[in-house]
Amino acid sequence: MSRRTGANCAIWLALLTVPLWLPLIGGYSALASRVLVYALGAMALNLLLGFTGCMSFGEAAYFGLGGYGTGLALTYLTDSSVAAVIAGTILGGSGACIFGLLVMRRRGIYFAMVTVAIGQIFYFVAERWNTLTGGEDGLSSFSRQPVHLGFATVPLTSAGPFYYFVLFFFAIGAAILAFVLHSPLGHTFVAIRENRRRAQFLGVHVERYVWASFAIAGFIAGLAGALNALQNNFISPANLFWVESGNLVIMAVLGGMRSFWGPLVGAIIFVGIQDYVSSYFPNNWETFIGALFIGAVIFFPNGILGIIRQRTKTA
């Protein structure tokens, strides 16, 4: 067994047994679900950020869109949690497919500015469309529904079963991302990151691939957002705001942009710190998060996994 398969097995084993060991270190299942939700969002973003080399700063738009899709589907259309998650995923992904057309030709700083500004469209629409989205107060007219497996019905109201519900979709999302990255498509993304101009010379339609990357990231981010809405039984415009985008970016960078599991590590750290700090310093936790951003950028530009990888290579 290679080191990589070993690491993968260890990660999945740890994730599967979370309810067993997490309470021992002071955590709780809802916190673990939140970590998975944000990890999936950050991993989706990282397809763009770390593997395609496109600085997307507006991923919260598709994350939040997924949440609204799920919330609205449960309110008006269906009473199945799974169908609602799928609806959210499709809504988030469709948004990315459409707006990806606007951003696919941009590069670097421009890409970042345009993605973040486009993200704000959804924010203001959600905030102003009171009759549909509940406006500033958000949408709380839905709650997670039990899942019917045919032989049994699993209630999702308590945190334990819901964690496995999230883990199931997290696994699907992660598998899709891994599949994409190991396919020729994924290799093309990396080629664009490494040398966009050369890829162009080789006949790669860079814009189409950037669009594809943006769209795939949008679908997965929508999936994460859908789970987030179920996790909180609530969705508000704050989930679409650019601060949320920044949170996803910092998770990816903190864990390591160049590695597949980096965003998961980043999400563990970010959500953990946020949970800890906001309960002890409720008034000033933003300063801690801001300091975390600055510290991470200056001291850990390659992320935690980047450092570990460097160490093991030189050793």
Binding site: R105, M113, V114, I118, G290
Partner: protein, 289 residues
């Protein structure tokens, strides 16, 4: 008709603020290669410092002191933090750095001055309406327009006529070459960053007299500033001014006809510009496209 003029004039003022903010941010993006997410934060700091100083040194003193202090803070931030980002071509790092800075500034302002808005008193001479039919046309609003026009003109004169300004413009085109010619580019970038934050502080003090001072006022402005720059075209300072005025006016006029959409309209304009003319109204072809 008066209502339309009222909304149009409001939009113009709004646009003037966006233009001033976009001008400073555009300078910083072009020469420092940093998207300054904290630009709105500097605006808020300038405004609040002016608010605190005004009782001691008067409105006019505060109008000068607020921006200058924002500029000084800009130099400190550039020297202590931002300069580490110059060697990293990936914009994600500088974005995250200034993003974290913006969070800290907002939190600090809230801790010091409180989350509730505070009123900023302007001289009585400027506060009264100039005519009874056009009640919205107060002396202060007119003064804001004049002050922003003067500041913009002064900046362009500085960039065109002074040798330092010419170096800044040369640095925007080719920093490596300017450096090779013996210009201290570290100083150039520091001063340029400070000019940008100074303009933000100036916008903040002026805005404080029109709107209420709240810690989050920077958040609302920074996105509009981004849009102004994208609409005007990255790399063109005139474009930033034009973009700012345009989206401000559009937002103002939209609130006359369809108030619900007044926040969204600037993003729709941006999307349209990106479709029809991807480089922005006055942007250079090929730059960041």
């Amino acid at each position: 008709m008066e209502l339309l003029l009222f909304d149009g004039f409001n939009g113009l003022i709004q646009g003037a603020f966006y233009a001033l903010m976009a001008l400073g941010l555009s300078l910083i993006i072009s020469l420092n290669s940093v998207i300054n997410f904290a630009h709105g934060g500097f605006m808020v700091i300038g405004a609040y410092l002016a608010f605190s100083l005004a009782p001691y040194i008067g409105f006019w003193g505060a109008l000068l002191a607020g921006p200058i202090l924002a500029g000084v803070l800009g130099i400190i931030v550039e020297r202590v933090l931002v300069r580490y980002m110059y060697s990293r071509p990936d914009p994600v790092y500088s974005l995250l750095l200034t993003f974290g800075l913006a969070l800290i500034i907002e939190d600090t302002v809230r801790s010091i001055w409180g989350a509730q808005g505070v009123p900023f008193t302007i001289p009585a001479a400027l506060g009264s309406p100039l005519s009874s039919t056009y009640f919205f046309l107060t002396g202060y609003r007119l003064f804001v327009i004049v002050a922003i026009t003067l500041a913009t003109a002064a900046l362009f004169a500085f960039l065109r006529l002074s040798s330092f300004g010419i170096r800044i413009r040369a640095g925007i085109l080719d920093l490596e070459m300017v450096s090779a010619l013996g210009v201290n580019v570290y100083l150039l970038r520091s001063v340029n960053f400070a000019i940008g934050t100074l303009l933000a502080g100036f916008a903040g003090v002026l805005a404080a007299g029109v709107l209420q001072l709240v810690p989050t006022m920077g958040n609302d402005v920074i996105m509009a500033t981004f849009v102004a720059i994208v609409v005007g075209g990255l790399g063109s300072l005139f474009g930033s001014v034009l973009g700012g005025l345009l989206i401000g006016l559009a937002a103002g006029l939209t609130s006359a006809f369809y108030p619900v959409a007044s926040d969204v309209v600037i993003y729709i304009i941006m999307a349209l510009v990106l479709i029809v003319r991807p480089r922005g109204l006055l942007g250079q072809e090929g730059l960041f496209e």
